[in-house]
C-alpha cells in the first residue's frame, strides 16, 4: 500500500489511478452485500468462472460492489459503460449475459426492470432512479468497498486534503454550518452547531464517534454505507475530528451487521497503512486514529449517552443531559457523535461548498436524505432523494406503488420513534418540520409502506413490544410505561379492551412521552399516539365490535370468500394447509370456519382479492340480539 504523506502524494496517486483506469472497458458490477441474501454469492462466482473460462479477463472486469439500491430485483447487476441493468438472475443466466455483452446485442428482456408491462433495460431510463440524487450513495454500488484505490480514484480523501492544506478548524465548521446539514440519525440537530459547541470546550483530549448502531427495525441506510463505501465515513470523521480538535475516534457498529464490521475494519486498516489515519496526517500536526467497536445487541445504545456508556464498558444506560456530550462525553471529555449518513455527506460539502449543498432541499431541511423503502411497495430498496420531494413521489414514482394490487393505507416513518401517516398526507414534502407537523418524524430513514391488510393497532403493539424489550429499565416512565402500554394495546388485539381504554391508553402515552429520561422512552409512545390520531376507528372496532378490519389480529376475524369476486379457480382450495376450503370449479368456494386456522395463505394466493376478513360469527350474533 503506498504511503500518502503529503497532499501531493494523494494527487499523484489519484492521477496514476485515473490514467490506469480504462473507462471503455466493460465492467459488470455485482452487488456483493445485501444481495447475498438472494444468491448473489453464486451469481458473482458464476461471472468470475465464465469470464475466466472464456478468456475474457482482459475485456471484462467483474466489480463486487455495495448496495446498488434496487434491492427488490436482487441479485442485481449493472453493466458499464453500456448502462444496462439486470435483476433477479440466477447462475444459469450468466453465460447468456456475458455472451450478449460481448456481442453487444440487445439486452435480455426477461431480466430487465419492468413497470406497467414496459421493460426498461437502461439505468438512465429506469423510473426508480430518476428522481434520486446520490450524494451519500455516490460511490455505493459503483466501487469495490474493499478497494481504497477505487475510493481515491473517485476523489476519496480529497476533502480532508483540501482542509489540511490551509483551512482552519473554524473555517470547516463555518462551511458545514452554511450547508445546513442536520443530524441524519433522526434528531435532526444542526451538525455545524454541534461541532461549534464541541470546539468551544477546551481540552487536550476530545473524541469523535460515528454512530453505526442503526437499530430501527426497517432501516438499512447506514448498513449500506458502511458496507458499500466505508472510506467515506472515515473521511467524514477526519473532517469532523479536525474541526473540533479530536484526537481519537470510534466507529460503533452493530454486531448484527457482520459485513459492515468486516469492511469498516478493513477500511480503517487500509487508511492507517497509507498514513491517512495516525500521526501527522498529510504532513501536518493533525493526528487522529479510529477504533472499531462492536455493539452487543442493545437498541438503546443508539442513544448517544448509552453508546458512550457501552464504549466505556458499562451497561448501555442513558444519563440525563445536560451536560451534553459536546461538553462532557466519553470518559468525561468533549465528544461529538454523528450518524453514518451525516458523515458520508461531509466530503461532498467540503469539496463543493456548503452553499452548493444548501441549494438542494427545503428552507429548513437542506440536502438529500437516504431512505430504506420497504414493506408493501413494489420497488423495495435504498433510495436517496432531495429533501422536499413528497411522500407520494417516493412511494409511487420511485417505489412503483403498492404491490399485490392492494390499496395504500399508511407509511410508517422513523421506526419505533415515529408515526404512521395515512393517505391524506401523501403530498407532504419530506422535511423535518412538515413531517413532524403531520404527526410522524423524519427518523433515520426507515420508511415502511403499509396496505389495507396491515392492522394499525397491531403495528402499535409491534413497536411497543420492541420498545419494551429494548428498554434499559433505568427510568420508571419507560420501564413501566412501555409495559403497561403494551399490555393495554395487546388487550385490544385480543378483543379484551373495554370502554374508556382508548382514552386511558392515550393519557398514559402522553405521560410517558413527557417524563422518560431518554429518546427511547420519550418517543416509544409515538406509534400509539399517531395511530390513535389517524386510525382511531380501528381501535374502536377492536374495542366495541371485537373485529379487526385489516384481518391481522387472529382472534378477531374470520375469512369469507366474496361471491361477486370469486371465479372458482380453486387456487385457495389447493393451497389450504388444513383443507378448510371446498368448492367446484368455476363456482364460488366456501371456507369452513371450524377448520380454518386463519393463516392467510389463501388470501396471498388469491389473484382476485376475493377473500376478505369479516367479523366472527358468534360476536355478530350477539350484536344481533
Amino acid at each position: 500500500m503506498p504511503k500518502i504523506q503529503t497532499a501531493k502524494d494523494l494527487i499523484s496517486l489519484r492521477q496514476e489511478l485515473l490514467s490506469k483506469y480504462d473507462t471503455a472497458k466493460t465492467r459488470i458490477r455485482v452487488c456483493n452485500t445485501g444481495c447475498r441474501a438472494r444468491r448473489a454469492v453464486s451469481v458473482r462466482d458464476a461471472f468470475h468462472k465464465e469470464i475466466k473460462s472464456q478468456n475474457l479477463s482482459s475485456k471484462i472486469e467483474v466489480v463486487e460492489t455495495g448496495c446498488q439500491g434496487l434491492c427488490a430485483y436482487a441479485p442485481v447487476v449493472s453493466i458499464d459503460p453500456v448502462g444496462i441493468f439486470y435483476g433477479k438472475l440466477t447462475e444459469a443466466d450468466v453465460p447468456e449475459i456475458v455472451a450478449k455483452v460481448i456481442s453487444k446485442e440487445n439486452a435480455l428482456g426477461r431480466l430487465c426492470y419492468s413497470e406497467n408491462q414496459q421493460s426498461y433495460p437502461y439505468l438512465n431510463e429506469i423510473p426508480f432512479f430518476k428522481s434520486q440524487k446520490k450524494i451519500v450513495l455516490r460511490n455505493c454500488g459503483y466501487i469495490n468497498p474493499t478497494s481504497v484505490d477505487d475510493f481515491i480514484r473517485r476523489d476519496g480523501y480529497a476533502a480532508i486534503s483540501k482542509i489540511l492544506s490551509g483551512k482552519k478548524p473554524e473555517d470547516v465548521i463555518e462551511e458545514v454550518t452554511k450547508s445546513g446539514i442536520r443530524g441524519r440519525g433522526g434528531a435532526g440537530f444542526p451538525t455545524g452547531l454541534k461541532w461549534k459547541f464541541a470546539r468551544g470546550y477546551k481540552n487536550d483530549t476530545k473524541y469523535f464517534i460515528c454512530n453505526g448502531d442503526e437499530g430501527d427495525p426497517g432501516a438499512f441506510m447506514d448498513r449500506a454505507v458502511l458496507e458499500g463505501d466505508p472510506h467515506s465515513v472515515i473521511e467524514g470523521m477526519l473532517i469532523g475530528a479536525y474541526a473540533i480538535g479530536a484526537t481519537h475516534g470510534y466507529i460503533y457498529v452493530r454486531a448484527e451487521y457482520p459485513i459492515a464490521v468486516e469492511y469498516s475494519t478493513l477500511a480503517v486498516q487500509q487508511a492507517r497503512e497509507m498514513g491517512l489515519l495516525g500521526n501527522n496526517i498529510l504532513g501536518t500536526d493533525f493526528s487522529f486514529d479510529i477504533t472499531i467497536k462492536q455493539g452487543a445487541g442493545a437498541f438503546v445504545c443508539g442513544e448517544e449517552t448509552a453508546l458512550i456508556a457501552s464504549i466505556e464498558g458499562k451497561r448501555g444506560m442513558p444519563r440525563p443531559r445536560p451536560p451534553f456530550p459536546a461538553e462532557s462525553g466519553l470518559w468525561g471529555k468533549p465528544t461529538v457523535i454523528n450518524n453514518v449518513e451525516t458523515l458520508a455527506n461531509l466530503p461532498y460539502i467540503i469539496l463543493n461548498g456548503g452553499e452548493s449543498y444548501a441549494q438542494m432541499g427545503t428552507k429548513g431541511s437542506k440536502g438529500t436524505k437516504v431512505f430504506a423503502l420497504a414493506g408493501r411497495v413494489k420497488n423495495t430498496g435504498l433510495v436517496e432523494v432531495p429533501m422536499g420531494i413528497t411522500l407520494r413521489q417516493i412511494i409511487f414514482d420511485v417505489g412503483g406503488g403498492i404491490e399485490r394490487k392492494k390499496e395504500f393505507k399508511a407509511v410508517q416513518m422513523g421506526g419505533p420513534s415515529g408515526g404512521c401517516l395515512p393517505s391524506q398526507h401523501l403530498d407532504t414534502p419530506i422535511d423535518y418540520e412538515s413531517i413532524k407537523e403531520a404527526g410522524a418524524i423524519m427518523g433515520s430513514g426507515g420508511m415502511i409502506v403499509m396496505d389495507n391488510t396491515t392492522c394499525m393497532v397491531d403495528i402499535a403493539r409491534y413497536f411497543l413490544d420492541f420498545c419494551q424489550k429494548e428498554s434499559c429499565g433505568k427510568c420508571v416512565p419507560c420501564r413501566l410505561g412501555t409495559k403497561r402500554m403494551l399490555e393495554m394495546v395487546t388487550r385490544f388485539t385480543k378483543g379484551k379492551a373495554q370502554e374508556g381504554d382508548i382514552e386511558k391508553l392515550y393519557n398514559l402515552a402522553v405521560s410517558v412521552r413527557d417524563t422518560a429520561l431518554c429518546g427511547l422512552g420519550q418517543t416509544a409512545p409515538n406509534p400509539v399516539l399517531s395511530t390513535i390520531q389517524y386510525f382511531r376507528h380501528e381501535y374502536e372496532s377492536h374495542c366495541k365490535d371485537k373485529f379487526c378490519p385489516a384481518g391481522a389480529c387472529r382472534d378477531l376475524f374470520r375469512y369469507e370468500i366474496e361471491a361477486e369476486k370469486c371465479t372458482g379457480c380453486g387456487i385457495c382450495l389447493k393451497n389450504c394447509p388444513v383443507e378448510a376450503i371446498s368448492g367446484e370449479k368455476k363456482k364460488t368456494h366456501l371456507i369452513d370456519d371450524a377448520k380454518c386456522e386463519v393463516c392467510g395463505i389463501c388470501v396471498e394466493k388469491c389473484r382476485f382479492n376475493a377473500i376478505v376478513p369479516k367479523p366472527k360469527k358468534i360476536v355478530a350474533e350477539k350484536n344481533g340480539n
Partner: protein, 177 residues
C-alpha cells in the same frame, strides 16, 4: 448466580447445558486464558470486546469464564454478569451448531415474519430461545437484520436468506442437515 446444573441434552426446558466435569472445566479455563492474553489487562472498557471474543470462541459465555475475566479486567464479577445479561448478544447457555435468526423487524413483520417463526417451530419442534435436542439448531429471533428489502428474512450463522415462505424455510433447514 445460580449454579449450572449438569443435565442431558434434550432436557425439557429446551436449553442446552454443557458438560461440567473437571476435564471440561480445565479446557474452558485454558481457552479463556488464551483469549484474555490478547487483551490489555486492567481495562474496564475492554469488558464488552472480551465477552464478544469469548462468545466467539465458545458460542456462548461459560459461567466459569466470569471469574477469569473479572480478574483480568479488574471489574467485579457481578458487574460483568450485569453487562452480560444486559446485552442481547450474550448467552450463558450453549447454542446449537446453527443459530437461526428470524428477523422481527417492521418490514418483515408487515410481510409475514410471524409465519416464518411458526414454520421453524413446526419443523424443528422448538420455541424461541430454545435449541433442538440434537444441538443442531438454536432459534434466536433478532430485532432487525437490515435486510428489509427481502422481507421476511432470516440469518443462519452468517448467511442471509430472504423472501421466505414455508417451502423456502424447509429448503434452508434441509440444506443444513
Amino acid at each position: 448466580m445460580k449454579k449450572q446444573e449438569q443435565s442431558n441434552p434434550g432436557q425439557s426446558d429446551g436449553k442446552t447445558y454443557p458438560c461440567l466435569c473437571d476435564e471440561t472445566k480445565k479446557i474452558i479455563r485454558t481457552r479463556v486464558k488464551e483469549i484474555l492474553n490478547k487483551f490489555e489487562p486492567g481495562s474496564r472498557s475492554l469488558v464488552i470486546p472480551i465477552l464478544q471474543a469469548v462468545q466467539g470462541g465458545f458460542g456462548y459465555v461459560p459461567p466459569d469464564a466470569l471469574d477469569l475475566i473479572a480478574r483480568h479486567t479488574g471489574v467485579g464479577r457481578n458487574k460483568i454478569y450485569g453487562i452480560l445479561t444486559f446485552y442481547a448478544q450474550f448467552t450463558t447457555t450453549a447454542r446449537g451448531k446453527y443459530v437461526l435468526r428470524p428477523c422481527q423487524g417492521t418490514a418483515c413483520h408487515v410481510k409475514g415474519a410471524k409465519n416464518v417463526i411458526n414454520y421453524i417451530k413446526k419443523k424443528l419442534g422448538v420455541n424461541e430461545g430454545e435449541t433442538t435436542p440434537d444441538a443442531k439448531f438454536t432459534v434466536e429471533p433478532v430485532a432487525c437484520l437490515g435486510t428489509c428489502f427481502l422481507a421476511p428474512a432470516m440469518m443462519v450463522n452468517h448467511d442471509y436468506y430472504g423472501n421466505l415462505d414455508e417451502k423456502k424455510v424447509e429448503e434452508v433447514l434441509e440444506s443444513y442437515k
